[in-house]
């Protein structure tokens, strides 16, 4: 009889109930995110149940895993002197292989194949599927590494649980201490020196691989030597090394995905000036974290960009500026506009993408308001009305707005392109307004470049997708109000690679003063559709801005 299979079957029998539950959860999770079942349609109650389950099921899976792994390892404990197998002809290597086989088949392979199957159903390409495997392995094994090592270094479930809680509390305290240190010392320059996003990804991959390698080494060592003290020392050293790799790994081997090259379209005709409209300029005190920080003021102004090809928009990024004053004083500034996080859509460019339909409710704020300068209070007091020569080098991210598809304004209308899907679940009509409940899903693979390692899977404030309500017959369109909808709180926190986000899009034809922009009735809706517009980054370009008589306190 093959002893490995004998051992494996024994463990399966021991854990038969949790295994059944585990597979039930794996299948339930698959069912919940498989198209069709994932769309409970207009039934709001069913949608609520669905949302609860999509969060609950992965949570339960994690809890189950936290319980099953120690039971599996503690079946033949590696710590203590009373284990049954110590004095039986049971080879430690055989046990190790048996446990690895169990973990591989039950915990890794089954969910891996299921998830890859789901991704395939969602339209993932062969390349995406090929990258999904290593990504799932990388992230699952990372989680496993902690659990398995902790189980291998404890004798009973109670000790495992207690130690797990202690480690969690200890980790939290360290994190709190680190965040407190951040308040007084700028650790970022120490920890992530000149880190680019791809270097961050490289460090994440390298530290995760190191973590997995250390976990395998400690596990093997503990099985072969049963030297718990040595294994604990090893684990402590491993945590330190993984930490150091995570922050100081030098080799940037991941592709530079978001390092956009120079824009391929000709931007030589693009001109950038600072608006001379005094209403576009404002001055603000800079927030201080600590009372001993210097008082500063920021001077904001609007950039006016012209010469962009139709359908394109330029969003300011990095600003490097200087103000040379007549007495030789030079005030310098370097800042970054985080337009990606608070995305503003340029109504004119959106209108262009809509093939001429007029946007009835364009947003008032302008995307090109930037910090022109930040200056210490004493200098501001001295020079605020003194003219000087302002020079700035501004880097812009060039984006194009494209209408990629449309959906009828009715439940079950859907948009499908590759791994991106959207479906309308409800349309609620109000007097002069309508709310469209829509659910989006997309595949988001870290290794495929869909997100960075430290980036959330879903940024509710910076989605590069806009749903515009358009009536082509009337050539009218409405932008959704700034409402991220109920989706945020229902995000599937455990599902990173296949994200389903419900959105509530409210379109109003009424102004704040009660003025009607258009008659939003059934006739209007008969010819209406939801147009999906996507903003795509196509490159970067830099422009210089010069003002000879720049005065900080504009009149």
């Amino acid at each position: 009889m093959n002893l490995l299979s004998h051992q494996f079957r024994k463990d399966c029998f021991r854990l038969r109930v949790p295994i059944a539950l585990w597979f039930l959860l794996v299948l339930l999770r698959a069912a919940l995110i498989t198209p069709g079942l994932a769309e409970p349609g207009e039934d709001a109650a069913l949608q609520a149940v669905y949302r609860i389950f999509t969060t609950l099921v992965p949570f339960l899976q994690n809890i189950l895993l936290l319980v099953m792994v120690p039971i599996l390892i503690h079946e033949e404990p590696l710590v203590g002197t009373t284990a049954f197998w110590f004095t039986r002809p049971i080879d430690a290597r055989l046990l190790l292989k048996g446990k690895i086989l169990f973990i591989a088949v039950i915990f890794i392979l089954a969910p891996l194949l299921t998830e890859i199957g789901i991704l395939a159903v969602h339209g993932a390409s062969a390349t995406q599927l090929a990258l999904a495997g290593p990504e799932i392995l990388l992230e699952d094994l990372k989680y496993f590494s902690y659990v398995v090592v902790l189980a291998a270094l404890t004798m009973t479930f109670a000790r495992y649980a207690l130690l797990g809680v202690c480690i969690f509390i200890g980790y939290s305290l360290v994190a709190i201490a680190a965040s407190l240190l951040h308040l007084y010392f700028d650790m970022s320059s120490f920890l992530r020196v000149t880190q680019s996003p791809s270097l961050g990804d490289s460090r994440y991959v390298a530290s995760t691989l190191a973590l997995i390698a250390f976990a395998v080494t400690i596990l093997t060592y503990q099985y072969l030597r049963r030297d718990t003290r040595g294994a604990w020392f090893g684990a402590g050293g491993a945590i330190l090394v993984v930490f150091l790799i995570g922050y100081f790994w030098p080799w940037d081997f991941m592709p530079h995905r978001n390092h956009l090259r120079q824009a391929e379209i000709d931007t030589s005709a693009v001109t950038v000036t600072v608006s001379i409209d005094p209403r576009s300029r404002y001055i603000s005190d800079v927030y201080r974290l600590r009372s001993n920080e210097e008082l500063k003021k920021s001077i904001f102004g609007r950039l006016e960009i012209s010469g962009l090809p139709p359908g394109y928009v330029a969003e300011p990024g990095e600003v490097q500026a200087s103000l040379k004053l007549s007495d030789g004083t030079v005030i310098t500034h370097r800042g970054h506009e985080y337009s990606n996080y608070v995305r503003k859509w340029d109504a004119n460019v959106v209108q262009h993408a809509l093939s001429g339909a007029k946007i009835l409710n364009p947003a008032k704020e302008n995307a090109t308001s930037v910090t022109l300068l930040s200056v210490k209070d004493d200098l501001f007091g001295k020079y605020s009305t003194v003219p000087g020569r302002y020079e700035a080098e501004v880097e812009f991210v060039l984006k194009s707005y494209d209408a990629v598809g449309s959906l009828q304004v009715k439940p079950k209308a859907r948009y499908d392109r590759g791994t991106e899907h959207a479906v309308i679940t409800q349309v609620l009509k109000h007097t002069g307004a309508a709310t469209v409940l829509l659910r989006e899903s997309k595949v988001s693979l870290f290794l495929a470049g869909d997100r960075h390692s430290d980036e959330p899977s879903f940024n509710p404030f910076g989605q590069p997708i806009l749903y515009v309500l358009r009536n082509s017959e009337r050539a009218e369109a409405l932008l959704p109000e700034k409402d991220i909808g109920p989706g945020f709180e229902f995000l599937d926190l455990f599902q990173k690679r296949l994200l389903t986000v419900p959105l509530a899009l409210r379109y109003s034809a009424l102004t704040n003063r009660g003025q009607t922009l258009t008659e939003l009735n059934d006739m209007w809706f008969a010819d209406a559709e939801i147009v999906r517009i996507e903003a795509k980054e196509v490159g970067r370009f830099r422009k210089s801005v010069k003002i000879d008589d720049f005065v900080m306190r504009a009149q």
Partner: protein, 299 residues
């Protein structure tokens, strides 16, 4: 005759506390060795070192010719080990335990197993956790005997067992060890339990071996001596180390002579206490010897 177990200067310390110190022990093959001592004497620590459960701090030990620190899976094919504090997989039924263990032993004897299961009246379909302590010990015993180990190590196997179960257990081990010529190494703090079993005895106290001898040799040199002392001058003074349990009640003196050789004790007594009369020297049963040792070493 080769030794099934042999230790040279074996020791184990936990921090500054020496649990076992300089242990020199030889257990001949085929012997039933009673390893006695009070609680905390270092018996279990010694056994754990012998079974390669813990590593010695000093000295060496060999078990069936293999250095104890190198005892591996294949060596345990010839060793049966039962301990009061061994954790058995209690979720298993008796039948599943037998089935699980069987796969690891090529020389598993099914007929022998069936016979023992029947003899001990073990219910195959009941989980071990639902069985009494005695039944669990019997199940462990069956799983440790049916592959006919050359060496059977029993660490305090009688703790918590009632008298009937103890008796059954002892009889079972005794019969089998005689039939199969196994070496049995049994530790206990309860001398009554091993009295019937042992043909060798070792006594531990505070981590050191106080005595290690064949029982027949013990019986040859142990005698119960009683005498009537003279009415005057009957004080024996400093008694020799070989006298144990010296008791003087009125004119009567009694003690256990541990170095008896024919006629020597009587002459020695006459020399020490002139006028001593009615000297009676009686051989001692194994139980009496054990009891004398137990009282002396506070077992």
């Amino acid at each position: 005759m080769s030794n099934a177990i042999e230790t040279i200067g074996l020791g184990k310390s936990f921090g500054k506390n020496a649990a076992v110190c300089g242990l020199n022990l030889a257990v001949p093959e085929g012997a039933v060795f009673a390893f006695l001592g009070p609680n905390g004497a270092g018996k279990t620590t010694t056994i754990k070192m012998l079974m390669n459960i813990i590593r010695p701090s000093e000295g060496t030990a060999s078990v069936l010719g293999v250095p104890s620190t190198q005892l591996g899976a294949k060596d345990f094919l010839q060793i049966g080990y039962i301990s009061e504090n061994q954790e058995i997989p209690e979720w298993m039924t008796v039948g599943r335990l037998i089935h699980y263990c069987k796969a690891f032993y090529p020389n598993w004897d099914d007929a022998f197993c069936d016979r023992l299961l029947k003899q001990y009246q073990l219910p195959l379909d009941r989980p071990l956790k639902s069985l009494s302590r005695g039944m669990k010990m019997k199940a462990t015993l069956v799983s440790s005997l049916v592959y006919r180990p050359r060496l059977l190590v029993l660490d305090e196997p009688f703790s918590g067992l009632d008298v009937l179960v103890r008796d059954e257990f002892v009889r079972g081990v005794l019969e089998l060890s005689e039939q199969e010529r196994w070496t049995v190494f049994i530790s206990s703090h309860d001398i009554d339990e091993v009295e019937r079993l042992a043909d060798w005895v070792g006594i531990m106290k505070e981590g050191e071996l106080q005595l290690c001898e064949q029982v027949s040799s013990l019986q040859a040199r142990f005698r119960k001596v009683e005498a009537v002392l003279p009415s005057e001058g009957g004080d024996p003074g400093q008694v020799p180390e070989s006298w144990l349990l010296v008791d003087r009640a009125g004119h009567r003196l009694s003690f256990v002579e541990t170095q008896y050789s024919n006629g020597n004790t009587e002459q020695d007594l006459q020399r020490r206490i002139p006028g001593c009369e009615q000297i009676v020297v009686n051989p001692m049963s194994l139980r009496e010897i054990f009891l004398a040792l137990a009282r002396t070493y506070r077992l």
